[in-house]
Amino acid sequence: MTSILSVKGVNKRFGGLQALGDVNLDVAENSCHAIIGPNGAGKSTLLNVLVGKLIPDSGSVVFDGQSVLGRQPHEINQMGISRVFQTPEIFADLSVMENMLIPCFAKRDGAFKMKAIGAVFGEKDMVQKAKEMLSEVGMLEKRDMIASSMSRGDKRRLEMAMCLVQDPRLLLLDEPTAGMARADTENTIELLKTIRKERGITMAIIEHDMNVVFSLAERITVLAQGTPLVEDIPDNIKGHPKVREAYLGEAQV
């Protein structure tokens, strides 16, 4: 299996705190890779490095043969990495349909294009593409709603659809079920499973909820104090002594 994202020897310090220490990680193409770890393990820092929000002190991050270091978030997105946030980041004042159309235009026209005269809804291809994606996630009948008026679960669903409509090569998910009710969590897991199965999109998930991780991931990296502890398939991670230690150690403190 070829790796699409390869992190090598990444270090990041914040003052006296070693947030990431010599992180090595490979995400294989067409797989679902989870990164787990107790609070403060450096999961979010790692994610921010991947999307260009933070620049590591040393090491390399290569996506599809190109370094992502020093690139702006919008450039990294244009390379094919889409990100789902912990709290859904959508265009809350715009309609669901417009929320879908914006990523469609971004994918087709690039970071900036001056199209100030033709009407949005005259772009039949884009509208068609957005509608198809909306019906795939079961939100087509909500397309005229203002995004802010939807439930949290629907906002999450919309955000994922916005990422997916760009056909990303890699989908980064930052605790996609954080703060969700049981039913919404189950729905989200189902949605992610379907996406994974039908579209074959490579995913990297950062997650707290073990239930989510074990039902989705094909490979798991356990991070503790900024360093990868173990990397293996889910079945081997479950009973791994080092992992128990990391989590139980946290519980005892």
Partner: protein
Amino acid sequence: MTDQTTQPSVTSPARASKGGMFGLSSKDTTLLLVVFAMVVLAPFILNPFPEGSGLAQFNAGYPDLMQRFVIFGIFAIGFNILFGLTGYLSFGHAAFLGVGSYAAMWSMKLFTLNVIPGILFAVIVAGLFAAAVGFISLRRSGIYFSILTLAFAQMSYALAYSVLTPLTGGETGLQIKNTDNPILSNIPEGEIGRANLFGAQMGNSYEMAVGNWLFTFNLGYYIAAAFMLVAFYLSIRIFRSPFGMMLRAVKSNQQRMNYTGLTPKTYTLYAFIISGMYAGLAGGLMVAMDTQVGPERMFWTASGEVVIMTILGGAGTLIGPVLGAGSIKYMENILSKINKDVLHQWFAFLPDGLEDAVVVFADIFVGKQWHFTLGIVFMLVVIFLPGGLVEGAQRITARFSRKKSSNNTPAE
């Protein structure tokens, strides 16, 4: 700057892509045609009271004021493209108005007294200036952006007032003098040239008397009105375009834009330049109408005025800025002319003591105190109608149509 202001009229192009003209939806076409009719018929609409009647005081159908309605309408339409769509509050837009005015003035002094080149020149120069100011100011957002634009405008004002006197005429400003001899216009020695459109002068008017009514059709007004209609039409197109949608995305969530592969700053900069060009157009038209300009046109109160116009009418709506500009200019010119003598005439039917008391009270709101009335109106609108006058109109229509048939869904 809250999300409340964008709601009604901009969110619903979804189902309306057919049935209209000029590349607009049928709803937008109707709006454009209504505005067109009102602008063309303004000399009638604004002069509803017969000459010599007590209410003639409220007639606004004279050329000077009508010109101001449409010119400030353009200014506010342009401002709304920046503020209404992206939420970036510029507090220095009068600088672009002023720069446009000076540019048009010099075009008339040096090249030709035809207004068209002057107006085009104004738009271009204001656009370039806006590009420079926007490029620097957009390094910050929120209040810091507003302060940066304010600082630029006040610097422009101060420079025009002092150091740049050879270019701006300093305190007295610029007028066309009998020494000016534009190379493309033949002005007889010693005569003062007049602004014209291919020979027809801006001041040309046709007066029509119908009974006691007098209607004035002024060439200058109709030229400004034609520009305003084009400006309004373009703003509708921008609102409905992918570019307009991106601008609303800027207001809604810049983080998501970045992670969707877009550059919100570039979009905002272009909106800033376009709205600067609208301001330049307004400035150029002002010079075309009265061939004079002074630095006070760039003073910060002038920048504040366009903010108030836009919010009063309804930021983020299509027609709101035009309504806002119209109401403020109406109050400024009509309310301010009502003085104590006029009030005494109106209330002459009351017993003497009561008449005096009523006049003293009413005088608080009119004449030089018209700003006080504007302040009250502005406060009421912001508190009760956050979407401006447009929201007021929408609420009235909604109530009206609900009464007519209860099965109908309420208007958007």
